[in-house]
Structure formats: C-alpha cells, structure tokens
C-alpha cells in the first residue's frame, strides 16, 4: 500500500520534484500544496501518512501551519517533517534537529536522504 505524503512548499518546483521522485519509487503517493493557507483543507481531504512542510512561506510560516494541523484531532498524530533552508545540513545532522517534536531536515537534500528521513519518521510513528 502506498504511503501518502503531503508536500507543502511555496516553491512549485520543489514540490513537483518531490512528487516526481517519490512517486517514481513506487512506494509513495504525493499531494503537492503550494499555499500554506490551503494545507489544512488538503490534509483533511488527503489524510496523509506524513507531511513534508516548508518553514518559511508567505502568509503562514511552517510553525503556524503545523499548529493548525495539530489542532485538528483527526490530523494531530500525523508526523510532520520540516524541510527548510534555514538550517545547514551539518546543523540538522549534528543535532538530529527537532523543533517542537518535529524532525527538521535541511534543504537541499538528496532523494535517498529524503526517503531515509521519511521512513524513519513513519517508523517512529508506528512504534509510538
């Protein structure tokens, strides 16, 4: 069964590449969202297993989107992974960076690294 990933980023190119790459593996179904304000509705409809969430977006930042999603009882247990340009890869690796209990990964990230991160977060939710 395909894992459902909701990719939220204001950069269309980023979400498109994530979708293309993840779906090519045959293990994931990805929904792209490029407006932070649409994230909640999209999540309610799509019911993702995991959310990839950009941090710095116009209108609403990643933290606000995450708070909105977590305020919804139906969505609050979905793991969120921040995908951000605000930290360096070294910082993210060194600290195994978390923010508010959410995993943080640094842009740019290679596909194998992204998949590892997604699988790890899904496993944590499964065991949690």
């Amino acid at each position: 069964m395909l894992k459902r990933i909701l990719a939220i980023d204001d950069e269309v190119g980023v979400t498109r590449m994530i979708k293309l790459n993840l779906e090519t593996t045959g293990r994931y179904a990805v929904l792209m969202v490029n407006e932070a304000q649409s994230a909640h509705a999209a999540a309610q409809q799509f019911k993702p297993d995991l959310i990839l969430l950009d941090v710095m977006m116009p209108g609403m930042d990643g933290g606000e989107v995450a708070a909105e999603l977590e305020s919804d009882p139906a969505l609050k247990d979905i793991p969120i992974v921040y995908l951000t340009a605000a930290v360096t890869r070294k910082e993210a690796d060194h600290k195994r960076l978390f923010s508010g209990g959410r995993r943080v990964v640094a842009k740019p990230i290679t596909l194998p690294e992204l998949i590892d991160c997604i699988e790890e977060a899904l496993k944590e939710r499964g065991s949690g």
Partner: protein, 416 residues
Amino acid sequence: MTDGHQLGCSRPVAERPYGLQTVAAWPKPLVAALCVGLVLGIGVLDYVTGQQASVTVVYLLPIALGTWVISREVGIALAVESVLVWLVVERIQGVPYAHPLIQCWNALALLIAFMIVVFLLAGLNRFQEQLEEKVVQRTAELSQSRENLMHALADLQKSHARLRDTQLQLIQAEKMESVGRLAAGVAHEVKNPLLTILLGVEYLERLPTAQEHDVRDVLHDQKDAVERATTVINELLDFAAPSELHTQPEDLNAVIERALGLVRHAVTEARVTVARELEPGLPGVPLDRKKIEQVFVNALMNAIHAMPGGGTLTVRTYSALGAAAAAPAAPGPVLDGVAVTAEIDDTGTGIREEHLAKVFDPFFTTKPPGKGTGLGLSVVHQIVQMHGGTVDLSNRPEGGARFRLQLFKKGAGTSC
C-alpha cells in the same frame, strides 16, 4: 625632587656671579688665608700711606670676599682682624691728637661699619641662595610636571591607539554583520532552487536515456555543481551565523583526532603524510567541541590544499607547562593565561607576504575560481574569537606555513 634638594644644599660653583667662580672653586682654608693675608697687606699699605681714608675702605675687600665666598662668621672675623690691624697701625704711627677714647671710638665705628657690610653681604648671599634654591626647586617641579605630561601624553596615545583599534574592529564587525545578513538571505533564496535542481537531476538519472554516456556525464556534472553550490551556501551560513557556544572542558587532542578523521580522504588523495606531536595529558579547556572541530577541519583542509604535490602535515599540541619543559626550539611562544596551543605545519609553498594580513578576511582566497569561497579561515577566526582565543597563520623559516591556535584557561567561559 632628590636632585633638586641636592642642588639647593650646595650651590653649584658655575652659578657664582661676576668672576668669583675661580676663587670660589679654591679650597676654603686657602681663601681664608688669602683674606687674612690681604688684611695684613692692606695694614702695611695703610701704614705706608699714613692711614688715608681711601685705603681704610680697601679693608672691605677681604672682608667682602670672606663673607661672600666662605661665610658670615669668617666675614666677622676678618672685620675684627681689620679693625685690630687698623688700630695697630694707628698706634704705631702714634697719631698725636688721638685720645685713647677717641681711638677706641673710631675703631668701634669702623667695626660697626664693617659689620654692617658683612651682614648686608651675608643677607644678600642668603637671599641669593634662597633664590637659587627656589629656582632649582621650581626647575625640578617643572621637570616633574613635564615628565608627568609626557606620561599622560603616552597614556593618551595608547588610549587613542586602542580606541582606533576598537573602532576598526567595530567597523569590521558591522561589515561582517552586514555580509552575514546578506549571506543568510541569499543562502535561503538559493537553497530552494538548488533542491529543485538536485531532485530534478536525480529524477532524470533514473530515466533510461540517462544511461547514455553524454547524458550521464552532464547529469553528473550538474549534480556536482549543486553539491559545490551547497557547500558554498553552507559555508556562508556558518559564517553568517556561528550561533551560540556550548562549552565544556574538552581534551583538545581528542578534538584534533576527530578532525583528522574527517579529512582522512583528502589527506590520502593529496598524498600527504600526517605527523602527530600531541602532548599527552593536556589540561581540559572550555570549548565547543563541534565548533573547534570545524576550526581544525578548515585549517587542516587549508594546509592540505597548500600541498597539491603531497607533503607532510605536522599537528602539534602543547600546554604552557609542557612548552616550558620542552626544548626551546620546538613549540612557539606561549602567551600569559594560555592553557593549550595547537599548531598545524605544512610543507607547502607558504603564504605570500602581501596576503598574510588578509588570510582571515571573508571571501579572500588564493584558490582558483570554484575551488574555495574564502570563508573557511574567516569562520575559523570567528569561532576562535567566540572562544576568547587567538589564531594566526604565518610562514615558517624552514618553508611552508604554520597555523597556530591558542585557547585560554578561562576561554569564553559560559555557554550562551
């Protein structure tokens, strides 16, 4: 002040007025004997001339000389001697009209006159001495004031130099902050397109056409370019936001070993031999392990890049205590309060003199375009400064360059 007092107590001979210097320089007994002799000589003259008033006045000459050059007491003695000689001459001449009482009165009047001259001269002499003492004292005070002024001027010059340095540092810090802000902004904006390109290339790599030779090369080059751009961006971010320190006492040797582990591929590729001269049992110093590790990685990479044809990389550590015990030629100088020193020597071509002052400037690089951002050593400098340490890069007399890091006992102290 001491000099002033000494000068005040004994008047310098050179300051005696009106050609008395020569006589004043003679021994006092000699001057006294001369004065006594002069009185006797004038007595003879007095006798020969029949006690002319013009000759009597000449008695004042030895009296004045004795008073001025030797002392008031000597002047009084000479005055008494002169009156006695004058009396003797008068008695020998046997002036017919002179009653003894009149003669005594004349002698007394003469003595009084001589005494007045003696006291006037002595007073004048004393006044001059006091005047000279005051001049000497004032001169000493002026000299002291001048010395104080010179000290104050030197202090002012030092303060001015410090102020100028601080101002330059402030300007530099402001520039760095601006560069940092700009870098952080640019870095963020560039990372998103980089991610798009990277994931795009990875997608294309999995397509069947990617297996064609040319396409594979193009994709590989593009991926490599993204990696390089990412490195630049990350260095910019490191430079822009070295963030806070998390310090705790650490073994510097262990940090260096970890850094050497991180650069081992570069060491092998560049055919560089690593020589370790790590002093065992270094005292622990408060430092942020990750950040100092980054300092060593940057410094080691710099040294490796300086030896493209291979060479020897010597990594040395020593404590203040160890340096004192070691052979003087081995380690470099240890500053006060330095807990540990680390040195990295390479056998490369060294650094051109005109570049030495700029090596820690951001964006300064001697590497070919695309091979270095010029931020590595700036980050090193920034991190070491945060630790309250010192860092310098110099040429070794025997060739190659030496990177030296010194960390102090107190360090940056607290975690931020």
